[in-house]
Symmetry: D2
Subunit: 224 residues, 4 copies
């Protein structure tokens, strides 16, 4: 399983990290992980899993799996296909790809069955607790107070993150919690971990800028 504390980067469908650009980011993170010993992972588009998973040791995640078994499901994402392409894990229920409760449960069950690391994404304390009852390995919480603005983990009311973490661990203390919003730099990583989380999940802050190496080095510097 992905070791913690960890930094997980989700490239979404940005062209800045599609195909050969996804591969370059993979190589960069692979190098930085080797050099620093940090636990890093990268969630890429389904089309890019195979290549990214085969040029180094960086754990590659799928951005999504569908709650399906092999058969007549044209165009959907089969968990086994993701595994066979080389993915070590998958996001489940990302805010841009919500699933029904029944399907989240089924995806967690399938991920466990096929030995896929899995991170359920949730949008507030209540749904984080609900997700925790499904006993996933990871939950990435996106406190609404920290989304889409200039407020970061470092500047926000510390209880926003701490309360989310406590709520999940109260249901099941073995679940790892990632801070999925409000993290832009190394200080934020440090603060997120001080507040009880086991790492961070971020996206555009790493993917879009040209100076990806500088940004990643700063983020990694915030790990304990």
């Amino acid at each position: 399983m992905l070791s913690t504390p960890t930094i997980v980067v989700n490239v979404k469908t940005y062209l800045e990290a599609t195909a050969s650009s996804a591969l370059q980011l993979t190589q960069l993170m692979n190098t930085l992980a080797s050099e620093t010993g940090a636990s890093l992972a990268l969630a890429v588009q389904a089309t890019d899993i195979y290549q990214c998973a085969h040029i180094g040791k960086l754990p590659i995640f799928s951005q999504h799996i569908d709650p399906i078994t092999p058969g007549s499901h044209t165009g959907w994402t089969l968990p086994q296909a993701v595994v066979q392409a080389g993915a070590q894990g998958t996001l489940i229920n990302h805010s841009e790809h919500r699933l029904t409760l029944a399907d989240i449960d089924l995806c967690v069950t399938l991920a466990k069955k096929h030995h896929l690391d899995h991170i359920i994404c949730t949008n507030n304390v209540t749904t984080s607790k609900a997700a925790a009852t499904l006993t996933p390995q990871f939950i990435a919480i996106e406190p609404p107070e920290l989304i889409g603005g200039d407020i970061s983990v470092t500047t926000a009311n510390p209880d926003i993150v701490a309360h989310s973490v406590r709520s999940v661990k109260a249901i099941d203390k073995k679940i790892h919690v990632l801070c999925g919003a409000g993290v832009k730099n190394g200080n934020d990583v440090t603060r997120a971990i001080e507040l009880g989380s086991d790492g961070v999940l971020l996206a555009s802050g790493v993917v879009k800028p040209a100076n990806k190496e500088e940004i990643l080095r700063d983020l990694i510097s915030g790990l304990p």
Copy 2:
């Protein structure tokens, strides 16, 4: 563009054509296409596009694209990602992956923009005509009378296919029509083409059996 008459195989999410098995089927079809000069194409899972598109000249199709542009669409299928992975084309609106009318329109527009061959799948004469107004390259019709039973193009009332073809061509005679149901062997391929279609789209009949080569050779023998 995919030359016609053509035989397009959709592997859906069958394990018999996932990852290395998808690759084997690609190699087999690549060999048969070279040997016979037949126009063949294979629609694989997104995770398998890259590999299948890089071991030969066989046109590889995506099974689906989402009507999205680059950005925040975690876990969805970006047309450009499919292109950059090596796909020559894509299915749109497969019966197992239906889209809204507005989204089919947008997918066709995006496919044209990114030079992706595209096949809209439709379920009856009426929706085939509707799809035809979107001016796609291909429409794969699945006459309801021919789905899921033992009736094939050869044994059915000939007007079932002929009427569908005429209805599409009456809207726009440049659109190529594939027969998407009722085709199991070479005789069916011959008959589908006699009735006006420009080829066939099939799935489990090729994907699940062990004797794939024998089945494909028979299908190809039905081409004019």
Copy 3:
């Protein structure tokens, strides 16, 4: 069938036209229709159809139907239920409630079977043509150039509406076309009809203001 030219008002889920407020708007439009002889209709929430359909002669429309037959479809909108509640018609595929192409086709078929007047909503010229092949009674076009801005039918390039109308009538001249965007007052109604449409479909401009009677009288004054 709803006579043309017509003015159709969709109250969406505004509280200003829910329950007793929907009833008041129905009564007002009923009075104005009787007084002026104008063809008016009102699309209300499913919960309000029964009451609104039973206090006068104003044609009441459902805002949506689902493509279902009686049975196990908890919480979905059965066409027969809408009819039995008293609706004369229904919107289909409103921009806030998009359907797959196969489902639009099925909804039109069900609406015809159950003698429900029906208006398919479309978002551009291409999808309007596609909708026209389904031979509905009405298509309400929302030219993108006229949505959500200050440009109205009166001030816009006249060809925007005229081209949409011609495209639909070229497929089937019996289809009535409503102008579904860019109409705020009587002048716009007059212009929309001059440009070839058979009426208008509007929403918030009528529903939200307090002076509904004044606005409706102005709109009606624009009818020929």
Copy 4:
């Protein structure tokens, strides 16, 4: 709030309980509730809420609400519209109308805000626990072992229901649990309550037969 133990009947979209037939069933259940003192409730289609809620004291439920606030949501089910039509409560996340986890959370929040009794439907022990963390009034569990077959609560392994009830109450003992499958007669009602549930939710067994009164009297006889 709906008093317990209770029997809740969901008419789905059966024609046998649409419009005037829904009204007849309401009247029958109203009479039986008055006569026996039993706590009964009926979930009807949105189009039928108004009438059914205004001919007696029987608690009428909506079969669904959408997680929306007033405004531009054409054709969706506004919680306030359901309340204003006269509903006392609503089902949420019925197996035929699944919602995302985030939307179930929002629906529960909206139901509480608008004083709607609410029953979250769940499909197994795990999702029942997840639903329980959202602190709804009621959870209706449908143990997979009891769905769609001839096995009833009375004949099944008693731990199937008892375990589900305990799992929910372990999260929050104030939540009422309904047995949503495997109940066909009074003996099943008795057994469901002996096993810890606070009532039952049923559908076709009451709605489709002609002898509805006989069936309801038998079910009521099973209440303690």
